[in-house]
């Protein structure tokens, strides 16, 4: 049954809005906006919907939480802590957990949603990186994303500290120890943050206003900007049949994408509810109230802080004293350098890549990661660097679980943090080339059909058939990684013996060298199609991979 007229309530409302806002023009352009489909495009949505869940559950928590460090005796219903002196923050967190219906659920969902929020952002960022979706014109949205990730870490840190239990206090103490180590401003920052000496009586209420107002406000604004830019610039698409750099192929916003997105929100929300119901997280009542005099062994931060914890654990002791001042390098380096490398590296990558490739054109077709092997290898090296630090953040757990020496895990980590990324780079590069070769084989020779044929001379062969056109289009949708003009010649970029002026200096020559290594086609697709005598092409063709 199809409708012939728009139902009156909807028609009435729309005319009302159109008369006043001119909404019709906007809707005309956007109702049927096309959204391309790929499973990896859903990763960012996990983060988006987790953020909505965070806002909802977080608002509920603020109704009951008391951000105060005033000491009160606990008089709630959790027997083991009755009568014990604790901060109001901790007492109200216990109250939420045991004396408010649904409070425990909201607390656990809030914590799980936070983990999913940061985790979703990370995998989304990796997807965008490995497919080159940060390229022009999307660099600004990429920068917004990097900012969002950084802010999310601070949002997590401030929220983690609020319940004021022994575990969260340990995290706060480490934060203080790191902040006070900063040269020149360290004591200022800590005394201003804590309103005096650690722990003071101000930090919870200050973190509270940062956690529920300032940072989420900025996050919300940036997420909105992120969405608007994505909307205006249209989403990238994977290469495929009929997909070009000038079009976008997929399902329309109304009605299909709308409902899909709604379903995905429900799914994310549902999974978080499932986790909140059945997977206990942060059982603060077991830890007791915070005191700087105690700690429980095996204290672990949330997963997204693990790499900082690991780098602190990894560092050998090193402290410099000059002219009466102290530089605690064994805190400064691990606290600032890995985070600096990762965040700055992420932020600058699109621009460094542009500088190396000289590529200023717009890209709307996502790269398959194998087709830009150096980028993929750099990404995997960074992932390995992060991963080693992250694992080392739990080296006490690893040591006790696998019954190995704790000190050995640290020594191995100190080596692996440098060696691991190098190995990852090399292995990823070879894997990318291998995958490109297998693509070339599919295009050049076709697909194994499973049909065995006996030739007149007695030889048995397996019949190859041309690949599915959709898959062929997907595989063929690759372009050589761009290079600086002049860098692609065999003679080293000097077409007429004279390189362009800006490439003559040492930096220019380095740039040409990098461009030649980074750019170009490592394994060209063999274009003679399926049926013929061109099989020797693979291997003898222009496989330039070994020269780089």
């Amino acid at each position: 049954m199809s409708i012939t007229t728009v139902p009156k309530p909807i028609a009435g409302t729309s005319s009302f809005l159109d008369d006043r806002l001119g909404a019709g023009n906007f809707l005309k352009r956007n109702l049927r906006k096309i959204f391309p489909d790929h499973w990896s495009f859903l990763l960012g949505e996990i983060a988006l919907y987790s953020f909505i869940v965070l806002l909802l559950t977080g608002t509920f928590l603020t109704f009951f939480f008391k951000p105060s460090m005033g000491e009160v005796p606990y008089e709630g219903s959790y027997e083991p802590l009755k009568g014990i002196m604790m901060s109001e923050a901790y007492a109200s967190s216990l109250h939420i957990s045991f004396d408010v219906r649904g409070g425990l659920l909201m607390r656990q969902m809030h914590h799980w949603a936070a983990l999913l929020f940061v985790g979703g952002m990370m995998v989304h960022a990796l997807r965008v990186f490995f497919t080159g979706a940060y390229r022009k014109p999307r660099e600004l949205n990429w920068l917004i994303g990097v900012l969002l990730l950084t802010l999310a870490l601070f949002e997590g840190l401030t929220g983690y500290s609020l319940p004021d239990d022994l575990l969260s206090g340990a995290g706060l103490r480490i934060t203080e120890g790191v902040a006070i180590s900063l040269p020149l401003v360290g004591t200022w920052i800590t005394f201003f943050l804590f309103g005096g000496e650690y722990p003071g009586e101000d930090v919870i209420s200050r973190f509270y206003s940062l956690h529920i107002l300032l940072i989420p406000g900025i996050l919300l604004a940036l997420i909105t900007a992120h969405m608007i830019l994505m909307w205006v610039q249209k989403h990238t698409q994977m290469p495929g049949k009929g997909r070009t750099n000038e079009n976008v192929v997929g399902a329309p916003f109304y009605p299909a994408f709308m409902v899909k997105a709604g379903a995905y929100f429900m799914f994310t929300f549902g999974v978080i509810a499932l986790l909140g119901a059945f997977a206990q997280i942060n059982p603060i009542w077991l830890f007791g109230p915070y005191t700087p005099a105690d700690i429980s062994a095996g204290s672990q931060p949330d997963f997204y802080m693990g790499f900082l914890e690991g780098s602190l654990r990894l560092m050998p002791p090193w402290e410099i004293n000059i002219a009466g001042f102290t530089l605690p390098m064994s805190v400064l380096i691990p606290a600032l350098v890995p985070m600096g490398i990762i965040m700055t590296g992420l932020a600058l990558y699109p621009f460094i890549e542009q500088w190396v490739t000289g590529d200023r054109s717009e890209h709307h077709i996502a790269d398959r990661p194998r087709n830009n092997p150096h980028r993929t290898s750099i990404g995997m090296a960074a992932v390995t660097f992060y991963g080693v630090l992250w694992l080392l953040g739990a080296n006490d757990e690893l040591a006790s679980f696998f019954h190995i020496s704790l000190n050995a895990t640290t020594y191995v980590g100190r080596v692996m943090v440098f060696l691991g990324p190098a190995i990852a780079y090399y292995v990823t590069y070879r894997v990318c080339l291998g995958l490109q070769r297998s693509d070339a084989a599919v295009i050049g020779h076709g697909v194994e059909s499973g049909v065995i044929k006996r030739l007149p001379n007695g030889e048995y062969i397996e019949v190859h058939v041309p690949p599915n056109p959709a898959i062929e289009a997907h595989v063929r949708g690759k372009a050589p990684v761009p290079m600086l003009p002049g860098a692609d010649g065999d003679g080293g970029g000097e077409r007429d013996g004279v390189p362009p002026k800006q490439l003559r200096g040492p930096l220019g020559r380095l740039r040409v060298k990098m461009s030649r290594a980074y750019g170009g086609e490592k394994i060209p697709l063999d274009d003679g199609h399926g049926h013929g005598e061109e099989h020797a092409a693979i291997g003898s063709g222009e496989d330039r991979s070994l020269t780089h």
Binding site: E71, K241, E246
Partner: protein, 368 residues
């Protein structure tokens, strides 16, 4: 790969089987979406579902939505039925509320997915992209308009206007920063505060401050703390619940046989082989709370800095750069342990203004 791309005459309609791990051949359906089936649809790229599929989808989706209905009702019922007030009832309520909420949400998600996939058409619509940049004429127009605006406003032509405006804005912009000044105390206070702990203060009646056991607050009789290998977590008398004091003054108290102590430990501060070290790790300030009796190792559980308690708590592993400071202690006339002075160096994590306090103490002939 073998050389085997020979053309063969295949029987009409014969579909070669697919080898696992290879892309499917042309004739089978693909994961990347079928070619557009020519149909009687009006809009290109929109292939309606068959009525049978759509009807099946409708039924499944409706079933899912009914589950959501049940989940929602169960949630409200759970809220009413399950009261909270102790750990077990809170857990039961949590499982009931969370389980029913999850059921409602996941069923709705499933229903909506079925709705899109089985009821709505298959879409493969195409839309054009345009470069983000505006065309040259637009850019030119904007440039011209901008120039006109500059002229009309007089912002460039009238320097007095411009300069006074910028001048006026500067202090106004600084005002919010100035407001933040009272977040912290006076600067002259804080490096000094970090150097001293309450161990340096005498009690109200002018006596040295006693060491008391953390938790019970009981003073410690040296004669009672007599089994070698013993360990206590110790706080200053009168400051048992002052977190600011505890953040610097908490101690770890250890009992040694005299022959176990090495040169790093100040024996004058070790009455009857009892040694008190700051419990606050010199790395980033976690309590160094773990002690291994046989090796005399103090271990910080946060970042695993390890200190040799028999040898002045010097660092033997981990990121901490300095030993845990030793507190000068003695036994008072009643036999209790007391602090005779403050730490000779600031305890806890390093900070910019700290300097090499240990070297200064040694220069003055003292023991760090």
């Amino acid at each position: 790969m073998t050389d085997n791309n020979h053309d063969i005459e295949q029987p009409e309609g014969r579909v070669p089987k697919r080898v696992i791990g290879t892309p499917s051949p042309a004739t089978s359906t693909s994961v990347l979406g079928d070619d557009e089936r020519p149909g009687d649809q009006g809009v290109p790229g929109v292939v309606p579902q068959s009525e049978a599929t759509a009807r099946k989808g409708e039924r499944i989706a409706a079933l899912c939505f009914l589950l959501t209905l049940l989940g929602g009702i169960a949630f409200i019922a759970s809220y009413v039925i399950f009261q909270v007030g102790d750990i077990d009832s809170a857990r039961a309520s949590n499982v009931a509320l969370g389980g029913s909420l999850a059921l409602a949400l996941l069923a709705m998600a499933a229903g909506m997915v079925v709705w899109v996939r089985l009821v709505m058409p298959k879409y493969n619509m195409v839309q054009e992209r345009h470069t983000m940049a505006s065309d040259g004429r637009t850019r030119e127009y904007v440039t011209e308009t901008f120039k006109h605006g500059v002229d009309e406003s007089g912002f460039v032509k009238r320097p007095m206007l411009r300069r006074t405006l910028l001048l006026a804005a500067a202090p106004l912009g600084l005002a919010p920063l100035v407001l933040l000044r009272d977040l912290g105390p006076r600067y002259s206070d804080f490096p000094e505060k970090l150097r001293h702990t309450v161990w340096g203060e005498k009690t109200k009646d002018g006596k040295p401050r006693r060491l008391v056991v953390e938790g019970t607050g009981a003073p410690i009789r040296a004669a009672d703390f007599n089994s070698p290998g013993g360990i206590l977590s110790v706080v200053p008398e009168g400051y048992e619940h002052d977190l600011n004091a505890l953040a610097k003054a908490t101690l770890i108290l250890l009992k040694f046989r005299p022959e176990e102590l090495k040169s790093g430990t100040n024996l004058n501060w070790a009455p009857q082989g009892i040694v008190a070290y700051s419990k606050i790790c010199t790395h980033v300030g976690c309590p160094a709370a773990l002690y291994e009796q046989t090796t005399h190792h103090i271990l910080c559980p946060c970042h695993q800095s390890t200190f040799d308690a028999a040898d002045g708590a010097k660092v033997i592993f981990g990121p901490a750069a300095r030993p845990l400071p030793q507190l000068p202690i003695a036994v008072d006339e009643e036999g209790f342990l007391v602090a005779t002075a403050d730490f000779s160096v600031p305890p806890g994590p390093s900070f910019w203004e700290r300097g090499d306090a240990e070297a200064e103490v040694r220069e003055n002939g003292g023991h760090a």
